[in-house]
Subunit: 466 residues, 3 copies
Amino acid sequence: MDAGILHPDRLFPADPATRTLARDLYKSVETLPIVSPHGHTDPRWWGENPAFSDPAALFVTPDHYVTRMMISQGVSFEALGIGADREKDPRKIWQTFADHYYLFAGTPSRIWVDDALARLFGVTQRLGPDTANDIYDAIAERLPNPDNSPRALYDRFGIEVIATTDSALDDLAWHAAARDSDWTGRVVPTYRPDAVIDPDTPNFAQNLERLTEVSGCDTSTYAGYLDAHRARRAAFIAMGATATDHGHPTPLTADLPQSDANALYNRVRIGKMVAGDAELFRAQMLTEMARMSLDDGLVMQLHAGSMRNHAAQVRQDYGPDRGFDIPIPVSFPVALQPLLNAVGMDPRLTLILFTLDETTYARELAPLAGVWPCLRLGPPWWFHDSFEGMRRFRETAMETAGIYNTVGFNDDTRALCSIPARHDVARRVDSGWLAEMIVTHRLDENEAFDIAKLLAHDLAIKAYRL
Amino acid sequence: MDAGILHPDRLFPADPATRTLARDLYKSVETLPIVSPHGHTDPRWWGENPAFSDPAALFVTPDHYVTRMMISQGVSFEALGIGADREKDPRKIWQTFADHYYLFAGTPSRIWVDDALARLFGVTQRLGPDTANDIYDAIAERLPNPDNSPRALYDRFGIEVIATTDSALDDLAWHAAARDSDWTGRVVPTYRPDAVIDPDTPNFAQNLERLTEVSGCDTSTYAGYLDAHRARRAAFIAMGATATDHGHPTPLTADLPQSDANALYNRVRIGKMVAGDAELFRAQMLTEMARMSLDDGLVMQLHAGSMRNHAAQVRQDYGPDRGFDIPIPVSFPVALQPLLNAVGMDPRLTLILFTLDETTYARELAPLAGVWPCLRLGPPWWFHDSFEGMRRFRETAMETAGIYNTVGFNDDTRALCSIPARHDVARRVDSGWLAEMIVTHRLDENEAFDIAKLLAHDLAIKAYRL
Amino acid sequence: MDAGILHPDRLFPADPATRTLARDLYKSVETLPIVSPHGHTDPRWWGENPAFSDPAALFVTPDHYVTRMMISQGVSFEALGIGADREKDPRKIWQTFADHYYLFAGTPSRIWVDDALARLFGVTQRLGPDTANDIYDAIAERLPNPDNSPRALYDRFGIEVIATTDSALDDLAWHAAARDSDWTGRVVPTYRPDAVIDPDTPNFAQNLERLTEVSGCDTSTYAGYLDAHRARRAAFIAMGATATDHGHPTPLTADLPQSDANALYNRVRIGKMVAGDAELFRAQMLTEMARMSLDDGLVMQLHAGSMRNHAAQVRQDYGPDRGFDIPIPVSFPVALQPLLNAVGMDPRLTLILFTLDETTYARELAPLAGVWPCLRLGPPWWFHDSFEGMRRFRETAMETAGIYNTVGFNDDTRALCSIPARHDVARRVDSGWLAEMIVTHRLDENEAFDIAKLLAHDLAIKAYRL
């Protein structure tokens, strides 16, 4: 499937002997099924299997990795199809993308887009001002084709299982539709309760009311509120969920005495919080979620360290998820201690940690995962799901954490077409890293091949209990 | 020009194929004109064009990169020509430098000194105890030569434009002299208002009085004080300035309501500050400077994160800028938000960020520059303007920031002879990095050549509006 | 001595030309005597020279690097021979270790264990479930052999001098026994006064009473307490000590007015502390220790940044040093300033800094050590005494600190058999780094060979005044 813009040796080490090994390692995992235990594809795709409308809607407008880079160089949101006065013609949006495609030189976005264009649409030229129209036509012509529908892509991509990320308030109707269809793909939801856990969420009070409705539990007391979570988790499990996910500004946890927790919840519920209450409630709820995981077996994921919606005006005019989410320093050891001291030695718990602050890899996360039985390290996330980012993770975390305390790769994307490209990049980078481990005699060759398979497939299955 | 101590392949990657590419990339940019948009050369050099006095005054005494390393190993300031009881014989100072030159093994200082000695003075031996005298003579003999005067060096170095850094209170007389001379070199000032913005500056009150005098504006009110800045910025622009520069302990910004800002200024002006006022005033003034840039077009530079004059006794006995300036942790996202929310989406603003805390490259600066239209990343600064420092910048910031959100290289030096060496190191490191990008198929070869030219020349011209 | 599991080129760079140089550099230092100026071997071994009891007691149970990785994957402390209900059969413990040895793939522990098994016990197979028994037998059979006694190992390892780490309250009887024996090995104690300096130490009050007894000084006043330290330091010096060591949560220092220090000590002594007193007292004592070093010449070591005993239940059930010590962010410039301003320019002081927060290498420690005459950088410590960790130290600290402001290698271990392996790893990594410095023309070849010897031997002798 490699076309002119995709070199078969891309992302492999420069040294010839190391490259040869990397190639062999990669070949051994290249076509393994894709396990996607954490991502943001639209459940509707799986439930309804609609055709994608146009190239801009597929590759440009919804992908904040792509739009942010153009915004950073003065392109307007409107030109990218965003906002009240947005450009409506997808061909014009596509031309704007093509005109600015040079900005992506050296970025992971280009690798993903190039790969998807070549792999799915047979494109053999680099996107640019002059090729924009031809490539637009090549995509647009094939989009209505049934083998480009979401479910067809799932099958073409060789996906074994894919998880979506779903609000605790979601009725999971699209998941039910997918399950009840004759399609054999495996799509599982993930319990993401931020909207009913984070008191700083807009419309938090309404969300609690809605939680009462969907759970059938009385959320006017803390005990009832926790029961509502239990009920929703059970509903998610019934639909195939194996994990929860928590996106918190910081990794702070707490384990309050019950009376304090009750009182805190009451303040949070009626919106009469004092300073620190929102943070403390989020912290307390992480420990509660961990306790529930002991009982129901859901694997817990914690994504910490993003300052969301950095530009107030952009948030207001164009909404969230527009690329203005900026990492901030975080620190885990003190923050996680209450949760860990409560339940961290319990063999039933798996807690997967993700960071946007790479300084924590070697300093904190690897030492923590290298000793606490419940902890596992998630792969490089967001700004770090790239060639250099993945290498840094291997180089800084593996010696102390140990390979077996990691969980393989997450594509973590809402950009469906990029899923095989993202897994391919991870497999290439890991093959290169393992080749260097062999050449420097830190791993035996046969071990490295076994580990390549673990990293590409098995660790994700095991860690996420899939 | 390469002599025995300068290998033509220095700083290129070890892998032979990659090295060949690096060599070709380097050759394509080796002789491009030098753009020096940020530095600390003495304006008198350009206005008066004096001969340099002696080798020690040229290479040792004023260069805190050089003196600090000897101080760290027990050499006295006096032996380096600093302090009341200082050694006065430049040959003895030079001998001390030569005796300790082994300390610079593996440091950027040695690369710069070796290069300057070879390039300017034809030195072919490594400096050391035994070669000290001969090399001293070789330099001293040529210093009076007109082709070693500052303006002649400017021409010999192939400088296209050089910026100095100048106090807001400076009369720019040397700049006027350079402009009014028959010399065709382009020297522009940079508006550096720290002395009238930072209330912690010694003699701050006197500085404000002096600001009143030089601006002709009444600085007894905040409005008048801001007008004084506008007047001085206009004077700098008239002399060719295209940029401001701000050296702050932290990157904190503020955007206070006008009455609060007025009251804060009044406390600052009369020296009746409460805790936090100095920091808050610096923060507020960054936003005010950004607002002025919308009107007058000056590009804004922010250098944050140095704890100055770490040794109190050294500060007292030998003055500032003696190598005792130590980086401290900084964080940008929260700190910059007030300024960015005030003016950060305005297409007229360019704000170039510099850090001494490399953890911010991947975590904060690249994500910020990769989305805010006003932001650009300055090159590695100070302790990081080195082989390894430059590589880390490329490896950690480029994937997320994008190459086009950077501004090329700054030599940032008061050591005139080191300017070509510093640009040469940057061009070599970038050529090596680009060669690796080609070999790992992350860039096409033709792209890499285009980008080499951008990094060496064009981006600086564009970002600094030169 | 290289057996099947130890490749002679292990840890050398992949590039063939660089590898050749690395091999030559390594050969030039491979058999240099081992200088071990900081470590945790048991003084009894040197004083009494007992035989080791069994393979599990030698390699598994006491090595928290080894036990932590198994704990992280659900092995119980008991199975590793720890705790009230512990497994007592060393062969079973060894089998558990062997069954989980795959977990150590890519970790420094495996390199150390493989090396020790091959070097000391002639093992030629990788440890695993199937080889466990044979290897157990191979070790157990040789342990009673006199050439595997501690003193014999010292001689076989080519150790020139080894330092232990000893409580200020220790009577140093084992050191006296070693000195008074006919054995010629050189074992020196290190003054580690944490137990009588850190008010958060369990039994701190009893420790002070004990300090009174062993020192003969009245510790009821601050002056007497300081005298007690002076007396104990003198006793350590009499037994060969050349250094102190301080393990503090943070690098905070203080230099209080005498009356404040007196009052603080009184609160600390009687256990009537207010918030911050414990931290402040530790901080004050670092400066007092530095002052004493001016007089008695002991080199000072500061190890900061570990949050000890992260798991409360593990601490309670299994004691300290079980692998649950997690690094936390630290920052040195502000913290060290009081001590440095008090005594930092005094040529009599050497203060060696160790960090577990690698972000401080380039940002803080290298700039500090590159200018303050008293400061030296300790080698990568604990989680960072590994291939990648050592490389990062060289790449991030050397350009700014300068090689001569470092102190060579510390094995820092209580695992006697791993000492040659650890020094071997350091020599290999440094040889590889120096080879790359040659190939990229940042060092001349002859310089690199000189520096290899400095790093492997001479710098430690000099910095520790051995």
